[in-house]
């Protein structure tokens, strides 16, 4: 499943970058994040209760940030499994300053979903992914604001 889109955050690029790299901010912004712990190799272990409306599942996974070029782009690698099956994804996150104090975050990636969700949720998957990503960026925006940019 291809996931791509962009989101505009009302904050300078550096500030957005900082939030994206900050475990505490990420933990708050990731939808349904119950736990986010850094590992020795720089990756994170995350526990999420994620979904849309009543369709929710508990997932445990690993989040890795690779090839970071501060403050422009990085690759994000996610793998997780839980009640709804498993998810593996990899994508590129790019930050561009589109105006003074305005940053456009563009993301494009490929996610592979397996198990229950893949076999019964086909119809809703794309829209659900879009919504969850949207929730994340909205929360991230709030993070940036509350941290005073």
């Amino acid at each position: 499943m291809k996931i791509e889109g962009s989101y505009t955050v009302q904050a300078p690029r550096d500030a957005v970058w900082q939030r994206l790299m900050d475990p505490a901010s990420l933990a708050r912004a990731l939808p349904g994040c119950e736990k986010l712990e850094p590992n020795a190799d720089g990756s994170y272990t995350a526990q999420l209760n994620v979904g849309v409306a009543a369709i929710r599942g508990n997932y445990t996974g690993r989040i890795e940030i690779l090839d970071a070029v501060r403050p422009e782009q990085y690759r994000l690698k996610i793998s997780g499994k839980g009640t709804g099956g498993f998810l593996n994804g990899e994508g590129l996150i790019m930050l561009a300053e589109t105006g003074p104090g305005t940053t456009e975050v563009r993301y494009s990636g490929d996610a592979q979903v397996g198990g229950l969700i893949a076999s019964v949720g086909q119809r809703l998957m794309q829209a659900a992914a879009r919504q969850i990503v949207g929730e994340f960026f909205q929360a991230l925006g709030r993070e940036v604001q509350s941290q005073g940019g």
Partner: protein, 775 residues
């Protein structure tokens, strides 16, 4: 009480229990101390199993035991494959995966609990760690050098290559004026979707060392042999019962790993266990059907005579062999020339492993693919040469006098009159008028399409020499002291209605009331031997065994009666509950003869007491039913939606024993065949995830999608069996699919459309319409 005669429309014996909800399917069987199974299944299409942790599941409330593949290793045999193909690679197929999983839904562990609810809860707690491996989904990619291998122990993904060749190809290829038409045809993967999913109850009694298994199966006797081999219980201590079976369509012509596991668990725990497949499991892990890529080359003369046909078949077998997986596509090769006299034929069939559930027999099993190929070919030829599809067919039909007709494919067609069925369907449909209507509508921008299919199928399977594990069938007839007749059949009908047909055969043979006959089947403890119900064989082969047993009994009864009446046995007939001379001057009541035979007071010398005869009928050949179908469709030019407006079917299944049942078989088959043409498709994504995982996505046809089917029959009896019946279980499925596709392509012909692959979803057609209007 009327004496039932063959050929009459008789209400079914099966129905009173079924219409009152009093039949017993597997899930309706309850035994004391029954435990329930739930399977943990792979969410990955291909992965190494790193670890299976069952501690949490074992500790869950109500759980009695949990077993993994490793636990069962060496204790339960492999899932069997009976197909005998030269050079066939047969990978190990354990009931529960041990080191590797190779398709989504492959069972990995089993939870045994005191209720289905607790088993379902606990199965989620089985923790499996997987290490994903490269996945291969597309069979063509699986054939490419360096492709990921489904089975690392095998050199590549090719399970077998089979070739079939006949005729003088050299001469044909050199023939001046010969035209070659090429086309790729895709026959998509389908799910059988019997309304009752699979299910099994296994009950092992340690004292008697007796394993009793209730399974929703089409082949209780074969299953008994296989489960004995898998479970290690001696076969004469095994009993398999097929209770009411809620449809099979080939998907229950199999031996599944879950059945082996159920037997093992029952034996290990000394308690009965039940497993009922969920619909999700059914779509994932019950065999799939079809899934072939067919590249055809047609050699045609300018007058429309097809002189040669080449086809390269890539058959997607899935990850493992089930009972007949590799054998199914070889049936395609066997029937590829269809109802036409095509002297040169070449077929190469490649069976390919992929990370998907196994394909196997689904209603038609290899023959719908053949029919689809040849019937599309006839329309391609007609389009290419600008001929009427009717004329092309008529030109290529053999004459009724040519039968029995030996073909370059190695089979001999028994009897047919293809011209007659085609003419009859054209008349029923008003073909000429339809073509005129089409012309008129085209001028208004409306797309009406008329599609034909003149199919032939191979049925009544079959001579043992051509079958993997015997093609005979067992039947026995016993007359009880009260005159009631008990019939045993080795077939295992599950909706086809042979309790009725067989009773008709017996009642009409003896001249007794139909109500006096009871047919028993589907229990290896009751019926000594049998093969089962599949390949449209039950009436033609199983019914013949019963017919012959009746004839033997009649001979014996005639001897007894003749002795008593002082006439010659040959002078006696069985009529209206009597055994009598032709004029009825001398007669005994049927029941009197029965009493004579059983009480044995004055039997003629050399005659054994009792009235029981059995017969194992071995057919000398297959039968080849045929028919002509015509579909009328209209395509919505805005959206590409297809509306099926009319459907006409004329089928010839030899002698018709019960026209009502024949009609029912045709109707059901039509809906499945039309379903394939228009809606059904079982879809995996490129990672091997099954996307059509529920009936919310896999489109089983519904009542409102169909017009009233106009059906009729012709009767061209076969000489392969004394009943003259050929079999009708699969005809509708086989004949209808190409008729629909031909109709839709015909509708779009003014746009230059030559072919569209199934299913003919609106989007595909819309794209064709759009590119045509752009051009």
């Amino acid at each position: 009480m009327a004496t039932a005669l063959l050929g009459e429309r008789i209400k079914r014996k099966e129905d009173p229990r079924l219409i009152q909800g009093r039949g017993h399917y597997v899930d309706d069987i309850v035994l004391p101390g029954l435990l329930h199974l739930a399977f943990a299944r792979s969410p990955h299409a291909h992965a190494r199993i790193k670890s299976v942790d069952v501690t949490a599941a074992q500790a869950a409330p109500g759980v009695v035991a949990v077993y993994t593949g490793a636990d069962l290793q060496g204790k339960v045999g492999m899932v069997p494959c009976a197909a005998g193909i030269e050079g066939l690679k047969v990978p190990e197929h354990p009931c529960l995966a041990v080191d590797e999983v190779r398709y989504v839904g492959e069972p990995v562990a089993v939870v045994v609990a005191n209720s289905a609810y607790t088993a379902r809860d606990a199965v989620e707690q089985v923790e499996v760690e997987y290490d994903p491996l490269p996945v291969v989904v597309d069979p063509e990619k699986a054939l490419a050098p360096g492709a990921p291998r489904v089975h690392s122990k095998l050199a590549d993904n090719v399970a077998f290559v089979a070739k079939l060749e006949g005729g003088d190809w050299k001469a044909l290829e050199a023939e001046p004026g010969i035209k070659v038409i090429r086309q790729r045809l895709i026959n998509q993967r389908l799910a059988p979707v019997a309304m009752e999913t699979r299910g099994v109850v296994a009950s092992y009694s340690p004292g008697e060392d007796l394993l009793t298994v209730w399974s929703s199966t089409q082949i209780p006797h074969i299953l008994k042999t296989q489960l004995a081999l898998m479970s290690g219980v001696e076969e004469n201590h095994c009993r398999v019962i097929a209770p009411e079976v809620g449809g099979g369509f080939g998907s229950k012509l199999n031996v599944y790993g879950e059945e082996g596991v159920a037997c093992y668990v029952s034996k290990a725990l000394g308690r009965p266990v039940k497993w009922i497949e969920s619909r999700r499991e059914n779509l994932q892990a019950t065999i799939h059907g079809r899934d072939q890529i067919n590249d055809v080359e047609v050699y045609v003369r300018p007058d429309g005579k097809v002189a040669g046909l080449k086809c390269w078949i890539i058959a997607d077998l899935g990850a493992y062999h089930q009972l007949l997986t590799p054998a199914i596509p070889t049936l395609t090769a066997l029937m590829i020339v269809g109802a036409y006299h095509i002297p040169c034929v070449f077929v190469e069939t490649k069976g390919v492993f992929t990370n998907k559930m196994a394909t196997d027999a689904y209603r038609g099993a290899g023959r719908p693919e053949a029919t689809y190929i040849i019937e599309r070919v006839m329309d391609l030829v007609a389009a290419e040469l600008n001929l009427d599809p009717v004329d092309v067919r008529m030109k290529n039909f053999p004459s009724p006098k040519d039968f029995p007709l030996a073909l370059p494919t190695g089979v001999t067609y028994d009897s047919a009159n293809y011209q007659r069925t085609l003419k009859k369907v054209l008349k029923a449909a008003g073909y000429t008028k339809l073509r005129k209507e089409q012309e008129r509508l085209r001028k208004k921008g409306r797309y009406l399409g008329i599609g034909l299919s003149t199919y032939v199928e191979i049925c009544a399977m079959g001579p043992s020499s051509r079958m993997p594990a015997g093609g005979w069938e067992f039947g026995s007839v016993r007359i009880e002291p009260t005159g009631k007749v008990t019939v045993l059949s080795g077939t295992s009908p599950h909706g086809q209605g042979e309790e009725t047909t067989f009773a008709q055969i017996v009642a009409s043979g003896f001249g007794i009331p139909y109500e006096d006959v009871t047919v028993l089947h589907g229990d290896t403890g009751v019926v000594p031997m049998g093969i089962g119900t599949f390949g449209s064989r039950t009436t033609a082969v199983g019914g013949t065994a019963i017919y012959l047993a009746v004839e033997r009994l009649k001979k014996k009864m005639a001897r007894i009666a003749a002795h008593k009446l002082g006439v010659k046995p040959g002078e006696l007939e069985f009529k209206d509950g009597k055994v009598q001379t032709a004029g009825g001057e001398k007669a005994m009541r049927f029941l009197e003869v029965v009493a004579e035979a059983i009480f044995a007071k004055q039997l003629p010398p050399g005659v054994e007491p009792g009235l029981v005869e059995q017969c194992v009928f071995e057919p000398a050949n297959f039968t080849f039913p045929f028919g002509a179908h015509l579909a009328v469709v209209e395509v919505d030019p805005d959206t590409g939606e297809v509306r099926l407006r009319n459907y006409y079917a004329v089928d010839d299944c030899g002698r018709v024993l019960n026209p009502m049942l024949v009609d029912g078989q045709i109707h059901g088959g039509l809906v499945q065949g039309i379903g394939q043409a228009l809606w059904e498709e079982h879809v995996y994504d490129e990672n091997g995830q099954l996307l059509t995982g529920t009936l919310m996505d896999y489109a089983v046809p519904r009542a409102h999608q169909f017009p009233w089917f106009e059906t009729a029959t012709t009767e061209t009896p076969t000489r392969v069996n004394p009943l003259g019946a050929k079999g009708v279980g699969e005809a509708g499925t086989i004949g209808s699919t190409p008729a629909i596709v031909n109709a839709v392509v015909d509708a779009l012909r003014p746009l230059g459309v030559r072919h569209i692959d199934m299913p003919l979803k609106p989007e595909k057609i819309w794209r064709v319409l759009r590119s045509a209007s752009a051009a």
